[in-house]
């Protein structure tokens, strides 16, 4: 029997059959890799937390070791809200030992980590910043996603840039000054802004300005949210 490929029923039947078959292929591949993709995402965030808190050298650690540190020494689930802007932060707390984490010991508290995010030069940038328990100094920062120019603004994810934030002052600044500066050169030794300054990336002025802008906004909001006290804090079960 000769096939009539112009028959409308055949056209509809063929289209539906092909669509169903190829959709099934895509769904099967998606389903087969779903767990792995989710694990990749989770591991990426865990590595960022461990690195931001300075709890280990993530480059030398296996995925299982990173997960173990996060599971035993980092506690999430605390949400705080800035009463001024209404912005909410999910706060992670890191502890020196698993026991301290279990008891939520104040003496064993390494610091807090919160999300920092904003517009870069080309696209949104987000990351995690960890600060000491008194909120006065940064422990570290990790930029998780960015689409800045490779080799220029894209270098914000390089270790040398992120490592500069270790120990940078993030206590409330004098009126009229910024919380942190990303500048081409450091202020003189006697200038109080020096402890708040990190080196900008050469040739990436716009990215440096954008990062400094959203970091200043987020750090200010985080300070206000933490200062708002338990009334603004909600601990999830």
């Amino acid at each position: 029997m000769k096939l009539n490929a112009n028959n409308p029923f055949y056209v509809v039947g063929f289209t539906v059959a092909i669509s169903a078959a190829f959709t099934a292929v895509v769904m099967s591949v998606q389903e087969a890799t779903k767990a792995r993709i989710e694990r990749n995402e989770q591991l990426r965030r865990e590595r960022a937390l461990v690195r931001a808190f300075g709890l280990g050298d993530v480059a030398q650690m296996t995925g299982a070791q990173v997960s173990e540190v996060v599971r035993t020494r980092i506690v999430g689930g605390l949400r705080v809200r800035d009463p001024e802007t209404g912005k909410e932060f999910e706060v992670y707390r890191a502890y020196t030992t698993p026991e301290a984490a279990r008891d939520r010991s104040k003496q064993g508290l390494v610091g807090y980590a919160f999300e920092v995010a904003g517009s870069g030069f080309w696209a949104p940038i987000d990351g995690l910043m960890a600060v000491t328990p008194d909120l006065d100094k940064a422990i570290g920062i990790v930029f998780l996603s960015q689409s800045e120019t490779p080799g220029l603004g894209g270098r914000i994810t390089e270790d040398w840039f992120q490592d500069q934030f270790r120990g940078v002052a993030v206590a409330p600044p004098p009126k009229g000054q910024s919380w942190v500066y990303i500048a081409r050169e450091k202020p003189p030794k006697d200038d109080p802004r020096r402890s708040r300054t990190v080196d900008a990336i050469t040739g990436a002025t716009q990215t440096s300005i954008a990062v400094a802008k959203f970091l200043n906004a987020d750090i200010a909001e985080f300070h206000r949210a933490m200062a708002a006290g338990p009334a603004a804090q909600k601990e999830r079960p």
């Binding site: 096939l3 490929a5 112009n6 055949y10 056209v11 063929f14 289209t15 092909i18 669509s19 190829f22 959709t23 292929v25 895509v26 591949v29 998606q30 890799t33 792995r36 993709i37 990749n40 995402e41 990426r44 996603s145 120019t149 490779p150 080799g151 220029l152 040739g203």
Partner: protein, 220 residues
């Protein structure tokens, strides 16, 4: 077993797509991704792998379905087939190379609209058997990949001082970063140079036999 004529046809088709009718420097197709993903060789390699896979599989599928495919929905079905294979590539890169996926992810999805794939399916696979179509797709994909890898080699070398992420020897002594090479305009310059060289070389080769004939016929 494939007949000798079909074998020769397949081999010819592979070579044609690799060089004679190269998609990038002969037909100027697939330029968007040539500009977007060529500042790192590893990223380019994965992108090329995705395109080769999509071109080959689309050609095979379209060729296998050609007798049954209704003409009026032909292009719609072809786009569906291409989209399916590209999504599979996208998922695979996201699962196994998550760091690279974050950089080239948006461009992998755009393989669906790459003119090379639709072009080869419409121009060749829709009216030819599976084996020559496979080689046609392979040739088109590899031809595209060869040009992209050449561009990436120049851009990564000059822009980052590395090849496949490995620092060039003693680069501190002689290398200075060409910022333009890591930005999209750098790809325009390198692509233009590649097209210039390839077309010049091809024209010189084509002209050589004619010149030889003239020289033979000329009086001593």
């Amino acid at each position: 077993m494939a007949a000798p004529a079909a074998k020769a046809n397949a081999r010819l088709q592979l070579f044609n797509q690799l060089w004679t009718d190269n998609a990038v420097f002969r037909q100027v197709l697939g330029i968007c991704s040539a500009l977007a993903v060529t500042n790192r060789m590893v990223n380019t390699l994965l992108m090329c792998g995705g395109l080769v896979w999509s071109t080959v599989m689309t050609n095979i599928t379209v060729s296998a379905l050609r007798r049954y495919m209704p003409q009026r929905v032909r292009m719609m079905i072809t786009v569906l087939v291409i989209a399916c294979y590209v999504i599979v590539v996208d998922i695979a890169i996201r699962a196994f190379f998550p760091d690279i996926h974050r950089v080239i992810g948006p461009y992998v999805g755009l393989i669906i609209t790459n003119c090379i794939i639709m072009g080869r399916a419409e121009a060749f696979a829709i009216k030819n058997p599976v084996v020559p179509s496979l080689f046609d797709g392979l040739g088109a994909g590899l031809g595209y990949s060869a040009v992209l890898m050449a561009i990436a080699l120049v851009r990564e070398g000059l822009g980052f001082g590395t090849v496949f992420g490995v620092a060039l020897p003693a680069r501190e002594a002689w290398w200075s970063s060409w910022t333009i090479m890591v930005m999209p305009p750098g790809a325009f310059f390198v692509l233009a140079l590649v097209v210039w060289w390839a077309r010049g070389y091809a024209m010189a080769r084509e002209a050589a036999p004619a010149d030889a004939k003239k020289a033979k016929g000329a009086p001593a």
